[in-house]
Amino acid sequence: MEQLVQKLKEEIITVLNLSEMKPENIDEKAPLFIDGLGLDSIDALELTVLLEKKYGLKINTPEEGKKVLYSVNSLAQFIRENNKG
């Protein structure tokens, strides 16, 4: 889980162009949207593309999206639970 969380932090920084952030600055429990990193709707879409492209996982509804993308931890959990191997 630790490794996945670390990897996710790095991927989030790359995919969302958060060039001024370092992985150690991202709190895996903190909300990604509104508070915390303050990401916006386009960032949310980019994260769903990341999930599909890198992990082969699809988010089907906005409600599911809100839960899965809540924090780095919830993202990591979603990936682990649905990992195809």
Partner: protein
């Protein structure tokens, strides 16, 4: 009686040099376009993380404007909806168009990026400038073959004389592959300044544009 307009500031980003009001403020000769823009962003301590999400056209226009507006205090001198932004270029959003096209080219490896698509419209750079500077005035983006001083010299006075703006950020911001250039002017009514740098005329606009 139509008010005399003046150029109260201008900023040029070209060939990895940042020139503001005729003065060279920064250069980074060895870099490529993206490296240059990032180096300039760091050098001028802009401190606006959303900069890194922008595409090259938006970064270029945004940076040029930030440097242009520094210490001009236009937000306290003019109402937000009385500051206009009029920009133009010849390649529109071609850089981002190309990047978007790459992501949809293959039916098998098909992953369009929403954040790339957002920038496939040239006027989004105006949106970025407005968001950062809280400007609500009129904005327009023109696509033309080359920088045309006569166009700007004719167009801007109409905005001022028809009481649409009291101040305008206007100019040319163009990116195509490794070629880029950005020449942006701050235009005000002479009576609102201490004389400005030069009158806003075809020859003065041209002379700023061709200046190194």
């Amino acid at each position: 009686m139509n008010d005399q307009l003046v150029i109260s500031g201008f900023c040029t980003l070209r060939q990895h040099r940042v020139v503001h009001n005729g003065k060279l403020l920064f250069e980074d000769p060895g870099s490529n376009t993206v490296e240059f823009l990032t180096a300039a962003y760091n050098h001028f301590r802009i401190s606006y993380p959303k900069f890194h999400k922008m595409d090259q056209l938006a970064k270029l226009g945004f940076l040029t404007t930030e440097i242009l507006l520094k210490d001009t205090d236009i937000n306290s001198r003019y109402k937000a909806d009385r500051i206009g932004i009029i920009l133009a270029n010849s390649s529109s959003s071609l850089e981002s168009d190309r990047n978007h096209q790459k992501t949809i080219a293959s039916r098998d490896n098909y992953f369009p990026s929403p954040s790339v698509f957002v920038y496939t419209l040239p006027n989004v750079v105006i949106g970025e400038i407005c968001i950062k500077n809280k400007i609500n005035g009129e904005g327009n983006f023109f696509v033309m073959e080359r920088f045309d001083p006569l166009f700007f010299a004719n167009y801007l006075p109409q905005l001022f004389n028809n009481d649409i703006v009291d101040c305008s950020i206007t100019g040319w911001t163009e990116v195509n592959g490794n070629d880029y250039e950005s020449v942006i002017f701050l235009i005000e009514k002479k009576k609102h300044t201490d004389g400005g740098i030069a009158n806003f005329t075809v020859s003065e606009i041209e002379s700023v544009y061709i200046r190194k």
